[in-house]
Every structure is written in structure tokens, then in C-alpha cells.
């Protein structure tokens, strides 16, 4: 974790949700190991990780669907660990639509209000407000089966926010939708978050979604939080090989540093690689280079590689080059096509020494 960012973060904000030493086991299988996390009021925080990393389990522990083996969940300072789901002032949007098929849209959205015995006039007003917030004005009398997938998730969102939860939990709410609808709904989610000012906790395995939506991202791996930071910090300064390769595209090279120069390091194999950092040290390391920081040149000095593939992406071209000296394939994202860079061509690969990142590597 980047300590300066954390400290800065805590200085001006009030902690609303606190997860302390959360550990969960199914039999001998430990799915969560000592998760610690403070979420600030009004924050949009994302749990990011591959399937089975513990992100959803953590979310379900906050919602009250599981009781953790160890650890506490605190909401505004109150311990809610043993409170059943129906007594917690948090609401959830699920991965698959969970609209009640026997009720229409209006009745679905009103469900939580009816449970809370909100008077009818007030109920109707708030259902209207919630539906207008998700841009589905006048959809009250429709049935869930008459809606598209995207509309259905909007109704699920409206149903979850109508109770004005302190914390809104979102469990991969967009993952079942088509890409275009997903992108539209991302924009909508950010707007709804701004307008409500509530705390959002979002679970996804899609790093692009996480980067686009979140104030902060918690990268989960094997039941632990690998790194918790703002999106930019996470992208620019990943502090583990896992975080580096899971968040954004990354070239990760296993290198063994023999000596440190001014703007370069020299490996035990005698390769001179661009790197400017005060953290360089002799020994085995991971070198992380983002594709957009990679340059291909034919004349300047660099590491020799052979172009293997080029894919046009509209705004840029993605090249892949095989580098035998580094024993790896290098991905480069370059704004314009390089004239004459045909497949099979020899190129000199280099990158910005300032943007490259060095991480310790165990051997």
C-alpha cells in the first residue's frame, strides 16, 4: 500500500464502513484471510480480482448473507457482524436481475418501502424519484419480463436505492450485459453515485470497469487485498506483480540487476535497460512497463526484438514483438502506425525510464 495516499485519504474524510480482520473459511478452505478496509462516506470503492479471489465473499459479509468465521464489520461505528441481512441499512444490486416476477416495475421498486411501512403517497413519490434517477420514468406498470437486460438492471438499481441505503453494494451488476449497454450504464452509475452521494461498493473482475468507475480500487487475490489505492496510483505504481498484470495491460519482465547506472540498469545477462528510480537495487526484480510507454525504433539504441503481430485499434496500433534477450514477448501500444514496421522486421525496443516500475521478485 502506498502509505502517503492512505494517510492523506484518512485526514479529511469520515470512515463509514470498517472491515476488520475479516477471515472466512469453508471447512479447511480459507477464502478470506484477514481483510482490513476502511471505506469513507460517499466513496466509490471497487473490489477487483479474478473469480474466487474473495471479493464477492467480502461483499456478502457486508450485506449479511454470510457470517464471517472471524473479524468484524462496522457501520458508522456500530458492529453489524451478527445482524441478519434484513436488519442492515445497506442494499445490494445483484449480478443477475432479481426482480420479483409476480410484481410490476413499480411494485418491485416499492418493495423495500412497503416492508418499511412507508405511507402510500410517500411511497409513490419515492418510486417515481428512483425511476427517474435511473431514467425509467413512467415504467411503473411494466412487467419485468417486458424489459431489456439493461432496463432490468436499472430497475434493480432503483429498487436498491429507493430505501436510501447508507452503503450500496453492487455485485458485478453489468457483467451479464452487452458491451455497449455496459458502457452506457457505467456513465449512468457514476451519475447516480454523484447525485445520491451514498457510498458505493462495487465488485468486478473487469479492470477497465474498475479504473473507469472508482475513487479507490482494492485488488483482491487469493482471499487477500493485494493493493488498495486510487486508480491512477494503482496503474502507475502497482506494488506487486499481480496488481501490475491484473490492472491494465502490462509487460512484466523477470530481470536480475547486476549494476545501476544513471538512467539505466544492467542485468546479469549484460542487457542495458532504461529505468529511472530511486528504488533500484541489485538482485532479482520484476520490471513492469505499460504498453503505451514502449517505443519501437529502427535506428536508436534499445533491446533487439522481432515484430510478430500488429493489430489496428482505431486510436492506436498494438504491436507484439518477440525479444529473445529478455525471454519475453513485448506488447506496445503506439498512437500511429510506424511506417515500414512489417511483421518479421527487426526493431529496437525502448521505453520511458521514468514510467517503468521495479518490483521485488522472490526466487
Amino acid at each position: 500500500m502506498a502509505p502517503t495516499n492512505e494517510a492523506e485519504h484518512k485526514a479529511f474524510a469520515k470512515t463509514q464502513l470498517s472491515i476488520q480482520h475479516l477471515t472466512h473459511r469453508y471447512g479447511d478452505d480459507e477464502v478470506l484471510s484477514d481483510i482490513n478496509l476502511d471505506v469513507t462516506e460517499g466513496e466509490f470503492i471497487t473490489f477487483l480480482g479474478p473469480s474466487g479471489c474473495g471479493k464477492t465473499t467480502t461483499l456478502r459479509a457486508i450485506a449479511g448473507f454470510i457470517t464471517p468465521t472471524e473479524g468484524r464489520v462496522l457501520l458508522d461505528g456500530d458492529d453489524i457482524t451478527d445482524l441478519p441481512a434484513h436488519k442492515r441499512p445497506v442494499n445490494m444490486v445483484f449480478q443477475q436481475s432479481t426482480l420479483f416476477p409476480h410484481l410490476d416495475v413499480g411494485q418491485n421498486v416499492a418493495f423495500g418501502l412497503e416492508v418499511a411501512k412507508v405511507p402510500k403517497a410517500e411511497r409513490e413519490k419515492r418510486v417515481r424519484e428512483a425511476l427517474s434517477l435511473v431514467k425509467l420514468e413512467g415504467f411503473e406498470r411494466r412487467r419485468a419480463t417486458q424489459l431489456s437486460g439493461g432496463q432490468r438492471q436499472r430497475v434493480n438499481l432503483a429498487r436498491a436505492i429507493v430505501n436510501r441505503p447508507k452503503v450500496l453494494l453492487l455485485d458485478e451488476p453489468l457483467s451479464a450485459l452487452d458491451l455497449k449497454i455496459r458502457l452506457d450504464l457505467e456513465v449512468e452509475l457514476r451519475r447516480v453515485h454523484r447525485e445520491l452521494g451514498a457510498t458505493f461498493i462495487y465488485v468486478t473482475h473487469d479492470q477497465r470497469e474498475a479504473l473507469a468507475l472508482s475513487d479507490r480500487i482494492a485488488v483482491f487475490n487469493q482471499g487477500r487485498i493485494e493493493q488498495l489505492d486510487k486508480a491512477e496510483v494503482l496503474y502507475r505504481e502497482p506494488n506487486s506483480q499481480f496488481a501490475a498484470s491484473f490492472v491494465g495491460d502490462a509487460n512484466v519482465f523477470a530481470i536480475d540487476i547486476a549494476s545501476i547506472g544513471d538512467a539505466t540498469v544492467t542485468t546479469t545477462d549484460g542487457l542495458e535497460l532504461p529505468l529511472i528510480t530511486d528504488q533500484a537495487a541489485v538482485g532479482p526484480h520484476w520490471l513492469v512497463v505499460r504498453p503505451e510507454d514502449v517505443r519501437f525504433d529502427t535506428d536508436t539504441a534499445g533491446v533487439e526484438a522481432t515484430v510478430m503481430d500488429a493489430a489496428f485499434r482505431g486510436a492506436s496500433v498494438t504491436y507484439r514483438a518477440e525479444c529473445s534477450a529478455l525471454g519475453a514477448s513485448i506488447k506496445a501500444e503506439i498512437p500511429d502506425e510506424i511506417p515500414g514496421t512489417t511483421i518479421g522486421r527487426q526493431v529496437q525496443v525502448s521505453w520511458s525510464g521514468q514510467r517503468a516500475r521495479l518490483l521485488p521478485r522472490q526466487v
Binding site: A63, G64, F65, P84, A85, H86, K87, V90, N91, M92, F94, Q96, T98, F100, P101, H102, F111, G112, V115, A116, R143, T145, Q146, L147, S148, Q151, R159, A160, N163
Partner: protein
């Protein structure tokens, strides 16, 4: 491509023969319930409603009919309550425990009515419970509960667990979830199951024979009449029961067709939406 059996004379004859075997006796029973004389076999000698009049005026038949209706209604109600509770419990019990409970609830199906009758009779006399329509209701409930259980469980299992989590998440207590989320979705099926319980109970004979006291259900009345006289009044009773059953089945069929049509319309709307 669908495989079609070739239409041949032997196939046709077999089909007609099988259908005749099923329906001719029914037809004869109905036909002779309208017979003018007391003969039960051909030749048919004129139409009359005398046997229906006679049967409907017969106190024994009327009492039997009301006893049967009372027993069948009570059996349907108790089955609905206990069967739903059992099916709900099992459908929400995960893993091996749930499967074990399900097997236990279904086991009575494998028990012959004769054995069930003997077992219940010895139980009632051992506990000094006097035989009455109440003991018949208990016996019938034991008898039809497994059938109802299967029907109810299929419907309950179709409800997505995530829906119940969503309801809990919105603040609904377990009781509220059952009343407002589960029940509205499964009620048609539960009522159909209760109707099945009603029909099975209504013409049940063997178990009833063991555990009934002084009263008689309609099947018992028919049986005792058969031992005394054989005339078309039996046909008239049978025909009445047949019409009643047909009416029930027809109502159930129309109802399920309507449900199916609505489901299809919704599915279509979903595809288009």
C-alpha cells in the same frame, strides 16, 4: 426430422382395439345409467332418468356424498398446510440433509394402501382414538401428502435463491419473504396440488375401509350397495362421479392453459424487449 410410424392396417386395428378397451366399458356404464329397465346388459330398452332420481333421493347415497366431500375438503386443506411446510423446509435445506428429508417424505408412496390401513388402524386402537371421519382425514393426509409434496417442491425449487436474498436485503423478514415473494408465485401450483389431494381422497377406498367408524364415504356406500343389489343406480352414481371428475379436470386444464399462454406471452415479450 420426426420419425413417423407407417400407417398400416394392423397398426390402425391395434389402436382402435386399445382405445375401445379403455372407453367402451365407460360408455356402457354411462349408457345403462339412463336405462328404462333394471337390466345392466344389452339389449337397451329405452331411455329414462329414473335411476338418477332414485339415487339422488337415497339418503345413504346423499350422506355418503356429504361425508366424502367433507373428508376430501379437510384432506385437501391439511395436505396443503403440512405438505407446503414440508416442501418449503426441504427446498431450503441444502445438501444431504435436504435429500434425506425428501426421501423420508416420499417413502409413504411405496407403501401399499392395505398396509397403511392396517398400520393406522392398529395405531388408532392402540392409542384409543375412536374411528371417525377425523381418522379418515388423518389417513388420507398420510396417503396423499407425498404426491402433494412432489408437486409443491417442484414449484418451490423453481424460485431463485437470489430473489429471496434480494428480499432479505430490502428488509423483509423470513415470514414476509414467504408471504410476499414465495407464496404469490407458487399459489396456483399449490392449489392444483390440493385439488389433486381432493380427487384422490374423494374416491379412496382401501385405507378408508380400515379406519372409518360408523359413517360411510361414497365409495363405501357404492360397495355395500353392490353386495345387495345390482341395478343401474350404481351406473347412475358412477356416471355422476365421472361427470364431476371430468368437470374438475376440465377446469384445471383450462386454468393451466391460461397460465401457459401467459408464460409464453411473457417469454415472447422478453425476447422482443
Amino acid at each position: 426430422m420426426q420419425y413417423q410410424t407407417r400407417r398400416s392396417i394392423p397398426t390402425l386395428l391395434t389402436t382402435i382395439g386399445a382405445l375401445a378397451f379403455l372407453f367402451v366399458p365407460l360408455f356402457i356404464v354411462i349408457l345403462f345409467s339412463f336405462h328404462a329397465t333394471d337390466a345392466l346388459t344389452p339389449p337397451f330398452e329405452g331411455v329414462s332418468l329414473r335411476w338418477y332420481r332414485e339415487v339422488l333421493a337415497d339418503d345413504a347415497v346423499r350422506d355418503g356424498l356429504f361425508t366424502s366431500l367433507r373428508v376430501a375438503v379437510l384432506t385437501a386443506v391439511t395436505t396443503l398446510i403440512f405438505g407446503t411446510a414440508a416442501a418449503y423446509g426441504v427446498s431450503r435445506t441444502a445438501g444431504r440433509a435436504g435429500a434425506a428429508y425428501a426421501t423420508l417424505f416420499l417413502l409413504p408412496i411405496a407403501m401399499p394402501g392395505l398396509i397403511l390401513g392396517v398400520a393406522l388402524l392398529s395405531f388408532f386402537s392402540n392409542r384409543s382414538i375412536s374411528l371417525s371421519t377425523l381418522t379418515v382425514v388423518i389417513a388420507h393426509t398420510v396417503f396423499v401428502a407425498p404426491v402433494f409434496f412432489i408437486v409443491a417442491r417442484t414449484a418451490l425449487d423453481r424460485i431463485d435463491e437470489a430473489q429471496l436474498e434480494a428480499a432479505a436485503d430490502l428488509g423483509a423478514t423470513p415470514g414476509y419473504r414467504f408471504r410476499k415473494v414465495i407464496l404469490p408465485q407458487v399459489l396456483p401450483v399449490l392449489l392444483a396440488g390440493a385439488a389433486m389431494a381432493f380427487v384422490i381422497s374423494f374416491d379412496e377406498f382401501i385405507v378408508t375401509f380400515f379406519v372409518i367408524g360408523n359413517e360411510s364415504t361414497l365409495p363405501l356406500v357404492i360397495f355395500s350397495r353392490l353386495r345387495r343389489t345390482i341395478d343401474p343406480s350404481i351406473n347412475a352414481i358412477s356416471s355422476l362421479l365421472l361427470f364431476l371428475n371430468l368437470a374438475l379436470w376440465l377446469a384445471a386444464l383450462l386454468y393451466s392453459l391460461r397460465l401457459e399462454a401467459r408464460r409464453r406471452r411473457d417469454a415472447l415479450a422478453q425476447v422482443q424487449g
